[in-house]
């Protein structure tokens, strides 16, 4: 009885499958134009974005460029073990986290403050001018930005001139030559470059706030500051939460351009982060396996963080990135 009904259902299943296949192929034919539009780029994305992941195997080998894959020597977790016992790499890890955290905190506070203050400007022309000027550094390359930063901080740059003029220091400071200052310089550079741009999203959130709330508060005698604290900032709350969570997901992605361009022999103990480490070991010293191991470590941790951040954001009802 049971086997009979099984065979009946299996033939039914087969028929269903065949039918589904037919429908599928018919649809493919119908939509062949859409397929022509996407298939070349799906191949592209596999070659340029997915295929390199295969290169992670290098992290478990003593990779030598001259010989084929099958001839490579497998060494297991040797490179990872080396990294986590290497004092230099532990310093690199500390720098990555410290730089990210400083950027995160400074970036958030400054962008939110700027958005609130721009929103309070009543002269539309002035408001637009301020916004335009505040975006400017975002469009400059990091090479240009680094050239500007190093010039401002040079011995005869304006920072030293002002501090000397005010009598706060009695000798010019070589800012980029003192490792301890690097995190602060990096954080300030990031703020200079991106604060205007990052404020855009908060301004968009503020513009969604119901204007009647402000009117009502005014009638109730709420002061300007009170209105900011009780209406504007709560109005940005959901955007702040989403961006905060997503940024925590990107905590290991501190970027490499400013660190690489502003870094030098004197500040290397504070400037070198994972990405710069990978460039130095991989490109300058040709230690492909060790560099790949470090890069792979960063990417894997980042993926975990990002997915955690994304699901946390969804759980809080704020909507994820996808």
């Amino acid at each position: 009885m049971a086997s009979e009904s099984n065979s009946v259902s299996s033939t039914l299943n087969k028929e269903k499958q065949e039918k589904a296949m037919k429908v599928f192929f018919r649809k493919c034919k119908e939509q062949q134009a859409l397929l022509w539009m996407t298939v070349p780029f799906v191949i592209w994305v596999f070659v340029f974005k997915y295929l390199p992941v295969w290169g992670w195997t290098m992290a478990f080998q003593d990779y030598k460029p001259a010989i084929s894959f099958s001839e490579q020597e497998w060494v297991g977790f040797k490179h990872f073990l080396f990294l986590f016992t290497d004092e230099r790499f532990l310093g690199v890890l500390r720098n990555t986290l410290a730089q990210s955290l400083i950027n995160l905190v400074l970036g958030f506070i400054t962008a939110i403050t700027l958005a609130v203050l721009i929103n309070e400007l009543s002269n539309m022309k002035f408001k637009r001018t301020v916004q335009t000027i505040s975006y400017l550094p975002h469009f400059l390359s990091w090479v240009v930005a680094a050239a500007l930063v190093s010039s401002v901080l040079s011995i005869d740059g304006i920072v030293n001139d002002i501090l000397m003029g005010l009598g706060l220091i009695d000798k010019e400071i070589l800012w980029l030559g003192v490792g301890e200052y690097f995190w602060g310089i990096l954080g300030a550079s990031e703020v200079w470059k991106n604060v205007g741009w990052n404020a855009i999203i908060y301004l968009a959130a503020i513009s969604m706030i119901d204007q009647e709330q402000y009117e009502a508060a005014k009638i109730d005698g709420a002061s300007r500051i009170q209105r900011i604290i009780h209406i504007t900032i709560p109005g940005m709350k959901s955007v702040i939460v989403v961006l905060l969570i997503m940024n925590i997901g990107y905590i290991l992605e501190a970027g490499f351009e400013p660190q690489y361009l502003l870094g030098n022999g004197q500040n290397v103990e504070y400037s070198e982060n994972i990405d710069v480490f990978v460039i130095k070991y991989g490109i300058s010293m040709f230690n492909f396996s060790l560099a790949t191991a470090a890069g792979m470590f960063k990417t894997v941790i980042s993926i975990v963080f990002l997915f955690a951040a994304n699901s946390l954001s969804k759980k809080l009802g704020q909507g994820g990135l996808y």
């Binding site: 859409l34 992941v53 290169g55 975006y135």
Partner: protein, 296 residues
């Protein structure tokens, strides 16, 4: 209506904004002043917003070099070709995944979005470029960044927002997807196309790392940003280099000499002026794209 508190707040706020603008603009204006000031004189310091001994000498010196023209050519080419090709490819895929009936809508979308989360990393990507024989080629600037998932999502959201009835009536008239894409969707998507074109163009213009990585030994594929990066890396953190060369200049009595400091300032201006000229006029597209991408 305005209370005393309002007036104080507004004044403080406006003063703050003016300071902010100075903070944003000063480094740039300072470099303009140094680039227009006599190189030997700049070494003495004290140049802020205005050149003390005005000269075009630094610019003449920079534009005399053959390398700079090669760098300008490559920078312009990669910006124009990168934005053009990237735009067309991104728009095409965006159109396809915006079609509700497309059978691979979901899988193609996911395949692209996944690339926002991981990458193979520096070394594997470098080796791939080597295996594809892209090192030493111009196309290494264009091909690896053809489509960015972020731009794809911005465009898809825009196309999804177009009224469906347009597509329906075009289909009833017998138009195929390519025809609809080129004749209807592209013309209707101009605002988002402008946004994405600008994102790509700015990215391409500002990129220096791929030149450093793949074409550093290829002088005919150098770019402005890379040339500036080399100058930046060569100049030491102290100004002693400037001093030494400046003294050498005054000793030889040649007033046409330049210093690393003035060359760096001049190159900084040359490498950023195109962007500075363009962005104020196009910023509304940038802002639109930024908010559109974030809403998703």
């Amino acid at each position: 209506m305005r209370t005393k508190e309002d007036k104080i707040f507004d004044t403080v706020n406006i003063v703050f904004m003016v300071i902010l603008c100075v903070f944003m603009l000063y480094p740039f204006l300072n470099q303009i002043a140094i680039s227009l000031n006599d190189a030997t004189d700049s070494v003495k310091g004290g140049i802020y917003l205005w050149p003390r001994e005005f000269t075009w000498n630094n610019y003449e010196h920079v534009f005399e070099k053959a390398a700079i023209w090669q760098a300008i050519l490559t920078s312009v080419l990669r910006t124009v070709i990168g934005a053009g090709v990237g735009l067309l490819c991104t728009a095409m895929v965006a159109y396809a995944i915006a079609q509700p009936k497309f059978i691979f809508k979901k899988s193609v979308t996911i395949i692209f979005i996944m690339t926002m989360y991981f990458n193979g990393g520096l070394i594997p990507t470098f080796l791939l470029m080597r295996d594809l024989h892209l090192i030493g080629s111009f196309w290494v600037y264009i091909l690896p960044t053809l489509i960015s998932a972020f731009n794809l999502i911005i465009m898809r959201s825009f196309i999804e927002g177009l009224p469906n009835s347009i597509f329906e009536s075009a289909r009833i008239d017998g138009a195929g997807d390519f025809r609809i894409f080129f004749k209807i969707v592209l013309p209707l998507s101009l605002p988002v196309l402008a946004t994405v074109a600008l994102f790509v163009a700015v990215y391409q213009w500002n990129q220096w790392f791929d030149v450093f990585l793949y074409n550093s030994s290829n002088p005919n594929l150098t770019t402005l940003q890379y040339e500036l990066m080399k100058i930046l890396q060569n100049s030491s953190t102290t100004s002693s280099g400037d001093m030494a060369s400046a003294f050498a200049n005054s000793a030889s009595g040649d007033s046409n000499m330049v210093t690393p400091k003035s060359i760096q300032a001049t190159m900084t201006i040359v490498a950023s002026v195109p962007i500075i000229m363009v962005y104020p006029f196009l910023q509304k597209y940038f802002v639109k794209g930024m908010t559109l991408g974030a809403v998703k």
